[in-house]
C-alpha cells in the first residue's frame, strides 16, 4: 500500500461513515447520547479535507494527519480514541513509503494499543476494541498464513463484524454507555459498529474496489 492507497482508505472511510451516520447515531441513542454518527462524520470529513490540503507524502504522514484531525474535530470520546489509534499507526509506519502486509499488521496493532492505553478499556467492555481486537488478530493469523494485504484486510473486516455482533449481549463498562449499566445489554456498541466501517473501507481499498 502506497501513500495514495492510504489516502483512498481515508476517503472511502469518510464516505462509508457519512452513508451510515444515521445508523451509528441510532445505536448511540439507545445506549449513549445519540451523537456517534454526527461526531464521526464531522471528524472524518475534517480529516478528508485536511488530507486534500496537506503535504502528507508518506503513509505514516497520512495517518498522522488523520489522527490529528479526528482528535481536534470529532467532539466525542471516539475522536481522541480513533485519533490516537491513527496517530500510533502512523508512527509505527515511520518513513516507509510502501507498506507491506507485515508492516500494516504492526500499524493495526499499534492503533489497538494506543486506543487501549488512552481509554483504559479491555475487550469485553463493549467498546470499539471489541471489533478492533478480533480484526487485528484475524489480520495477523491471515498474514502468517500467507495472505496478501487484500486477503488479510478482508479477514480483519469479517472478524470486526463478528466482534460487533458479540457486543450485543455485553454490558458497557466504559464511556458514556457505562452510565446506563444493565440497559446497555441487547444493543450493538456504536463504536464497534464504526470500527466495522473502517475495516470494511480498508478491505475495499486494498481489494482495488474503491470507487
Amino acid at each position: 500500500m502506497d501513500t495514495s492507497a492510504f489516502r483512498a482508505w481515508v476517503h472511502e472511510a469518510a464516505r462509508l461513515i457519512a452513508d451510515n451516520a444515521e445508523n451509528l447515531t441510532r445505536l448511540d441513542a439507545a445506549i449513549g447520547d445519540g451523537d456517534h454518527g454526527v461526531n464521526l462524520r464531522r471528524g472524518f470529513q475534517a480529516a478528508d479535507e485536511m488530507l486534500d490540503k496537506a503535504e502528507a507524502e508518506t503513509p505514516g504522514a497520512v495517518l498522522q494527519t488523520v489522527g490529528r484531525a479526528l482528535i481536534s474535530k470529532t467532539g466525542g470520546a471516539s475522536g481522541p480514541l480513533y485519533g490516537t489509534g491513527f496517530r500510533q499507526a502512523g508512527k509505527a509506519l515511520a518513513d516507509v513509503t510502501e507498506v507491506d502486509v507485515a508492516k500494516l499488521g504492526s500499524a493495526l496493532e499499534a492503533a489497538f494499543n494506543g486506543i487501549q492505553q488512552l481509554g483504559a478499556a479491555h475487550e469485553g467492555d463493549k467498546t470499539m476494541l471489541d471489533a478492533l481486537g478480533p480484526a487485528v488478530t484475524a489480520y495477523q493469523v491471515a498474514a502468517e498464513g500467507g495472505a496478501d494485504i487484500a486477503g488479510a484486510t478482508r479477514a480483519a473486516a469479517e472478524a470486526a463484524e463478528r466482534g460487533l455482533a458479540e457486543t450485543v449481549p455485553m454490558l458497557a463498562r466504559k464511556g458514556r454507555a457505562s452510565y446506563l449499566g444493565e440497559r446497555t445489554i441487547g444493543h450493538e456498541d456504536p463504536g464497534a459498529a464504526s470500527t466495522v466501517l473502517l475495516m470494511r473501507a480498508l478491505a475495499t481499498v486494498t481489494a482495488g474496489e474503491a470507487p
Binding site: I71, K73, G76, A77, P80, L118, G119
Partner: protein, 133 residues
C-alpha cells in the same frame, strides 16, 4: 495577563459551553485573582469537547505556576489526555479527578490563596468528600 500572575490557573473542560462558562463565572467570583478559563462545547458550539479549545484555554490560564484541568465527564478526560500527550514536556498542566463544580470552587480558592500546583490539585480532589449540608 496582569491578573493571576504567579497563581495556578484553572481550566474547566465541559461538553457544554454554557456549563463551562457558568461554572467559570461562578468560580471567578471567589478565585482571588487566579485565572479560570472555560473550555466547553465543540468548535461549532454543540455538545462535545474540543481539543483546540482545551489547548487555547491552557495557554490562557497559564500564569507560570501550572494549570489544573477539571473535566466534566469521562470523555472530556480523553480529550484532555490527547492534548497533554501533544504538549508533553512543554506544559505544567495536570488533569484532576474531581467533581466539576465543587472541585473548581475548591481549586480556585486554593489557587487564589497562592497555593502551589500540588496543593491546588489536592484541594480539588478533596472537594469530593465535602458535605453540602
Amino acid at each position: 495577563m496582569t491578573e493571576g500572575i504567579g497563581l495556578v490557573g484553572i481550566v474547566l473542560i465541559s461538553h457544554s459551553s454554557a456549563l463551562a462558562e457558568g461554572a467559570a463565572e461562578l468560580v471567578q467570583q471567589i478565585s482571588g485573582g487566579a485565572t479560570v478559563v472555560p473550555a466547553g462545547g465543540t468548535e461549532d458550539g454543540g455538545l462535545g469537547t474540543s481539543t483546540d479549545k482545551i489547548e487555547a484555554a491552557i495557554e490562557d490560564a497559564d500564569a507560570g505556576s501550572g494549570v489544573v484541568l477539571i473535566p466534566d465527564l469521562g470523555s472530556a478526560v480523553l480529550s484532555a489526555r490527547s492534548v497533554l500527550a501533544d504538549l508533553a514536556g512543554e506544559t505544567t498542566a495536570r488533569l484532576v479527578d474531581a467533581p466539576f463544580v465543587e472541585g473548581a470552587v475548591a481549586a480556585a480558592v486554593a489557587a487564589g490563596s497562592g497555593a502551589d500546583l500540588d496543593a491546588v490539585i489536592a484541594a480539588a480532589e478533596e472537594a469530593r468528600d465535602a458535605a453540602k449540608f
